[in-house]
Symmetry: C2
Subunit: 401 residues, 2 copies
């Protein structure tokens, strides 16, 4: 990865007014890909996530991960001078992202329809719990609300257990990714039309879209899909199986893989011609019996032994990694650079999540650490709006910055 | 939503060589946003997911959801004439996406470096289990493998339970979204540089990126994050709570919300000043006691009663929706159009998942149903390569189409 590489989004300026997770994640992705991202935080407290653990030397590593590659300024959007400053920046920006509750930007006089009067090419990306239209638009939203109302918790978990949240802020992650797609797609349209657009993302919508076949399964059967551990409703065998020393994943996604697994690995060719297991839908229907037969084989062997044997036959299999395994893995952490070091002025050397969007010759890259609150106020306002250091001190005293 | 609306990606042509989930999901998103997507499938069997339930009249609804808005042609890439045809299409395409195992396209003579000789502006997007470089590049990958090796399963599930898969193909969903971002970002760079790029997405990488603060938590503490039900490691109270008739979600993401919840809803202002609960990190540390105190209040009330009272105070709360609730919800299904009807020539009226990328004035839209295998071979090859109906019949007999 050469230092001279340019990110694909070089030349694109993003105003990032977002807080907490979904919005900041979008800003971080755009920054990783080379955009210049200016994060705007309220004076004194800044982003709520600056209060989230884990900490090093009083700074939040949670915040650092989601706000790398951003310049940070403080700005009080409730003051007249604050509004003037943001409008000045909007004139020079390509993209603005925000995740206030719908209506907040309008009440500040900074809604999409006001801002495009200043810059008709502006792409305006909003992400909220339920979006800017529809009966729930006023409801506050967080990741866990989206996972709950988007249906994901109802289908995640072991049989007979309570609804279960995906173990990370998955609703926020999906929201941030969809917002990124929206603003980039709108940017593409702008090349053709010369006009900006408003992108309106709801976390709950994003979770619903991620349910894939679950919706169709319900509509066709009339039966609510239930929590069913690690079994996949559309394919079998495709699950976790009990090994002698833990659990192992084996996935036979098509007939060829299934036949190879029975014949070459388990040495039980009779399963292939068993009337209960002849097709994918039949195997799904009779999955419990099939799983029992496979566990008879897996439970006598170690995870390592099984993974090696199954992979040797080109059939998908894997151990289940914990976070430590991920962080230490030579492929994931090192070769794919999904665990990256970053040097932060207060925290020292820290570990951040890599970016999975590997664009060959223009790799995603962490060019700068997350800002200390207000770190770049002076340099950014000087560069973009020609505001002097003295004016900045005055504005700071007035509570504008 | 006016019929005259153009999608933001109008004018962009995508060759979609992908199968199963992650890749097709990317093609469907690009199509929903207005790109012309040509799906290329092997003759006779087509995409593996054509064999996945649920079915209507012998056609897979699983496939229909992930392949709406695509034209479908069959093509045998192992034949010389098949290679010539795909090269002819590449000349006229903006984006090509594929999810073969790394090396397969190269062995067919259709690798990125060959194709950019034909069209230097081509954006080439690849998605696979582990990516095209690194020690595991040859390993086969599926969603469940990515969820397992990306660490997500290890942190999902109830305390003391086995590692748990997110209930949908989340690794594939994340892969499709990241691939979409990659090709759109590369398209933006092309406007500046005139050159295409290769985007290389690994499902496992995408899952790792979605772990957000979990990685930092492990690195700082040295302790592996454990499965902990619906508790979020960075914020409290932010969880599911036992109600009289089920579970309810309440999320107090900052101090103000927490204080309002204790004072105005539970009428227990003494909790606010309790030394155990003074800050976010303290509440996380003493979450079990705090949760107990909240459940004392929630367990005496119904989900509806709690959600209404808490939302009235502008504090995030929700019920847990099952798939039926989602499909019937006036906000999610109707207003946000996340559950959409589509008319399919064989299946009749079907229900597909909506697209959450709401671009106002250029909404995502289902313009055509998924193709029957090879449905558009004649029209697409006629339009793009001027191949006659008679030639097509000959090519079909030879097994090229």
């Amino acid at each position: 990865m050469s230092m001279a590489e340019e990110g694909v989004l070089k030349g694109i300026t993003v105003l990032d007014l977002t807080r907490v997770v979904a919005g900041p994640f979008c800003g971080a992705i755009l920054g990783d890909l080379g955009a210049k991202v200016i994060k705007i935080e309220r004076p004194e407290k800044g982003d709520d996530s600056r209060a989230y653990a884990p900490y090093i030397n009083g700074e939040s590593l949670y915040y650092a991960n989601l706000n790398r590659n951003k310049y940070g300024i403080t700005l009080n959007l409730k003051t007249e001078q604050g509004k003037e400053i943001i409008k000045g920046l909007v004139k020079k920006a390509d993209i603005l992202i925000e995740n206030f509750r719908p209506g907040v930007m309008e009440r500040l006089g900074l809604g999409y329809h006001n801002l495009i009067k200043i810059n008709s090419k502006l792409i305006y990306g909003a992400v909220s719990g339920f979006g800017s239209y529809g009966p729930y638009k006023e409801r506050p939203g967080y990741d866990i609300i989206a996972q709950a109302m988007g249906g994901l918790m109802s289908i995640t978990g072991q049989k007979g257990n309570p609804p279960t949240r995906a173990g990370s802020a998955m609703g926020d992650m999906l929201g941030g990714l969809n917002l990124t797609i929206g603003v980039l797609a709108a940017l593409q349209a702008r090349e053709r039309t010369g006009k900006g657009r408003k992108v309106d993302i709801a976390l709950t919508d994003c979770v619903v879209a991620s349910l894939e076949q679950t919706i169709q399964r319900y509509v066709v059967s009339g039966k609510n899909p239930e929590r069913n551990g690690n079994t996949y409703a559309a394919i079998a065998p495709y699950d976790t199986f009990r090994a002698r020393d833990g659990y192992v994943v084996i996935g036979c996604g098509n007939q060829k893989l299934f036949e190879a697994f029975c014949r070459d690995i388990m040495k039980k060719p009779e399963i292939i011609v068993d009337a209960r297991f002849l097709t994918v839908p039949l195997r799904v229907e009779n999955n419990e019996e099939l799983k029992g037969m496979i566990e008879e084989w897996t439970s006598k062997r170690s995870v390592e032994e099984i993974v090696n044997a199954v992979l040797k036959a080109q059939i998908p299999a894997s151990p289940i990694f914990n976070v430590e395994d991920v962080v230490k893995d030579p492929h994931i952490a090192k070769a794919r650079e999904m665990i990256v070091k970053n040097s932060h002025p207060v925290m020292g050397e820290i570990i951040l999540n890599g970016n999975p969007i590997k664009i060959l010759g223009a790799m995603p890259k962490i060019r700068k650490p997350s800002p200390i609150l207000g770190e770049d106020t002076e340099s950014i306002l000087g560069e973009y709006l020609n505001i002097s250091g003295e004016e900045i001190r005055t504005l700071r005293k007035k509570g504008v910055l």
